[in-house]
């Protein structure tokens, strides 16, 4: 455990995690360029970016419970980066949809968002992620004040719920819920852990 903590504090740790987080995108770009994404590469790109958004959202939400349960405060160094990668892949997902499916036609995109509930919910998720990404740097935290910053960033729980709804509604059309259930269980467990911690009375040792 000690060595893990030391590793997390190593100066190369952040660049390495950053590079790892970029691997899915690198693979998708390479796969698209070398025609390895199957018969419908546009669909594969749009869906994969959505999948990776959900995965990064799970990873981001897992940091705090892991940090507390394993007493590894060093993990906190990576939460912002993972959160920003959630936003990054959400942007890729939105861009892939807007470009590959909608031909970047703003009027078509607007109509589609209003017409299809699951697109509306997905778009709402992206809009809600926007203020979180914009207030992710240190000066924004100071400017908002810790309490307000934290209140704002609790939006991530709403985003997680809406992201699941977006995925559920998309798959509902084909009655295919196996993967949705997996993500729902992971996100459910991560939120439940927080609820349990919130309702468990114990002395707060850390200074706020």
């Amino acid at each position: 455990m000690k060595s893990v903590r030391a590793l997390l504090l190593h100066p190369a740790a952040k660049p390495v995690v950053l590079a790892l987080c970029l691997l899915p995108l690198a693979w998708l770009v390479y796969g698209a360029a070398s025609d390895q994404l199957g018969a419908n590469p546009a669909e594969a790109l749009i869906r994969s970016c959505g999948d990776w958004t959900l995965r990064f959202l799970c990873l981001t939400l897992a940091i705090t419970p892991l940090r507390i349960r394993t007493r590894t405060p060093q993990l906190a160094h990576f939460r912002r980066m993972l959160g920003l990668f959630t936003f990054f892949y959400a942007c890729c997902h939105l861009l892939a949809y807007a470009w590959l499916d909608m031909g970047l036609d703003a009027a078509d995109i607007g109509r589609d968002i209003l017409k299809r509930p699951f697109i509306l919910v997905g778009f709402a998720c992206w809009l809600l992620l926007l203020p979180l990404a914009l207030t992710s740097f240190n000066r924004a935290v100071r400017w908002l004040g810790g309490r307000q910053w934290q209140a704002l960033h609790r939006l991530v729980y709403l985003i997680a719920g809406l992201a699941l709804l977006h995925f559920f509604w998309m798959r509902a059309g084909k009655n295919d819920f196996a993967e949705v259930q997996v993500y729902a269980m992971i996100i459910g467990a991560l939120l439940l852990e927080r609820l349990l911690r919130y309702f468990t009375p114990r002395p707060r040792l850390s200074a706020r």
């Binding site: 698209a32 199957g38 018969a39 419908n40 790109l45 589609d112 017409k115 509902a172 059309g173 009655n175």
Partner: protein
């Protein structure tokens, strides 16, 4: 191991190795004559021993049956399939269907007909001359392909079994064998997968009883050994791996309609003006042809077969009967 080195470039065959044009043309003519002639039916039976034997078929004379559009690469049409009996991912059927046993196979004719009973696949295939038809295929998910099918008009079978005057609908029941089909073990749909057509739709010459594609017998992931193809309806209406055809008076239940009646109607005609809640039906992506950044193409009413089938729906409210 010795390496064989040729004097000429490896990519260029020796002139002596090339079959003279006259010879191979003669060969092809002979083969065609054999397949089309009286010997054809005998050959078809022999060829049926091997499920993937080449199927010979003449180009269809039916109006609208051969589109001039570029056909979809065979690799795409056989690797990107919705066939839930073999899994919900579109890449599942290509490998999960490999174990499906399609020989022997027979189709049970049931219901209000003069000649009910079981027809062996070999006999079914011989019922009428096989034709090649190049149809557009539009999936409800918003993508499309162009596929060269081999089969004959379903009407030939219908005439053969002599339905009674009271028949209004045809129901297709497909194989649901949990031992061979991993998807059937899941509760995604109410198995077996069934589909149906109104009698006039089933009798329309474009409705194809299909045995092959791309010059060969149907690959398993595409609905081997026998399926229907109804080109003016969304792909899911074209039932695969059919084991039973029923002639009935009442509109039969259909798999997707039972799963989500508000999303999938009985008719499911391709219609850009009637939206599915999850997929825009106004446009489509042509698989293997439209580039990644190409704008999606406009979807046509009845998938472009309006001239041929429009009269079937004259006076019907297509928004109500979607």
């Amino acid at each position: 191991m010795p390496i064989l080195v040729r004097k000429t470039s490896a990519h260029q065959p020796l002139p002596s190795e090339i079959t003279p044009q006259t010879v191979y043309q003669d060969r092809r003519t002979l083969l065609k004559a054999l397949a089309l002639g009286a010997a054809g039916s005998a050959l078809a039976g022999w060829a049926a021993r091997d499920a993937r034997a080449a199927l010979s078929a003449a180009r269809s004379p039916v109006a609208g049956a051969v589109t001039m559009e570029k056909t979809t690469p065979q690799k795409d049409a056989t690797s990107y399939n919705n066939f839930y009996e073999f899994g919900t991912d579109k890449s599942d059927p290509a490998h999960a269907a490999a174990a499906l046993k399609i020989d022997p196979w027979s189709v049970e004719i049931e219901g209000l007909v003069s000649k009910p009973g079981r027809i062996a696949l070999e006999d079914l295939r011989k019922l009428s001359p096989l034709e090649e038809r190049i149809y557009r295929l539009r999936c409800v998910e918003g993508w499309s392909m162009v596929i060269p099918w081999i089969g004959y008009s379903l009407s030939a079978l219908i005439q053969h079994v002599q339905p009674l005057g009271s028949v209004k609908y045809v129901e297709f029941v497909t194989l649901a064998d949990p031992k061979q089909m991993p998807g059937v073990r899941s509760g995604v749909l109410d198995w077996p997968y069934t589909e149906g057509l109104r009698m006039d739709e089933a009798l329309h010459p474009l409705t194809l009883l299909t045995f092959g594609m791309y010059g060969d017998a149907l690959p398993r992931q595409n609905g081997a050994p026998v399926r229907v193809v109804v080109p003016w309806k969304y792909g899911f209406k074209s039932a695969k791996s059919i084991v039973k055809i029923r002639f009935v008076e009442k509109q039969p239940g259909t798999a997707w309609n039972k799963a989500a009646a508000n999303e999938y109607g009985f008719y499911s005609n391709v219609n850009p003006n009637v939206d599915h809640p999850r997929w825009s039906q106004a446009t489509e992506r042509r698989i293997g042809e439209d580039g990644l950044f190409a704008k999606r193409r406009k979807t046509l009413l009845f998938n472009g077969y309006e001239a041929e089938v429009g009269q079937l729906y004259a006076g019907m409210d297509l928004k109500k009967y979607f």
